[in-house]
Symmetry: C2
Subunit: 76 residues, 2 copies
C-alpha cells in the first residue's frame, strides 16, 4: 500500500478532457482500468513507456503529467 515517489495529474486531466472516464483513458492508453485506478491512487508509478502514451492522450509532455515527489536525493 506504499505510495510511489511519483505523482501525476491524471484525474484532473481526465475531467479537463470532457468527463473522460477511467475506462476510456485506459483504452486510449492501451492498458486496463486497474492500471489507471492504481496510477491515480498513486500505488505505483507507470513505466516510462506508459507515461509517454498517457501524456500523448492529453497532448502533453511527460513532465507536465507526472512529477517528482522530492524526498531526498543524496548524491556525491
Amino acid at each position: 500500500m506504499t505510495t510511489s515517489p511519483i505523482g501525476n495529474h491524471l484525474r484532473r486531466l481526465r475531467f479537463d478532457h470532457g468527463e473522460m472516464t477511467q475506462e476510456a483513458l485506459a483504452r486510449a492508453a492501451g492498458v486496463t482500468r486497474q492500471t489507471v485506478i492504481a496510477l491515480e491512487a498513486g500505488r505505483y508509478a507507470p513505466s516510462l513507456e506508459l507515461a509517454f502514451r498517457l501524456a500523448r492522450v492529453f497532448g502533453k509532455q511527460v513532465d507536465d503529467v507526472f512529477f517528482w515527489r522530492d524526498d531526498s536525493v543524496a548524491l556525491t
Copy 2:
C-alpha cells in the same frame, strides 16, 4: 536482445557534460553501471523514476532526454 521502444540521448549528454563516465553517471543517478550500459545500448527503458533522476543529473526534462520510437499506435 530486443531493443525497447524508447530511445535516449544519454551517451551524447554524457560527453556534452565534460567527458562524464558511465560509472560517474551511474553513481550520480544512484544506479549501477550495468543499468547505464543497458540503457545506452537500448536494451530496456528506465522506470519513470529513474528517468526523472537521470534527467535531473543533466538539468533537463524527461522529454528532452528520452523519446518515443514511434512504431504504430492503434487507438480506438
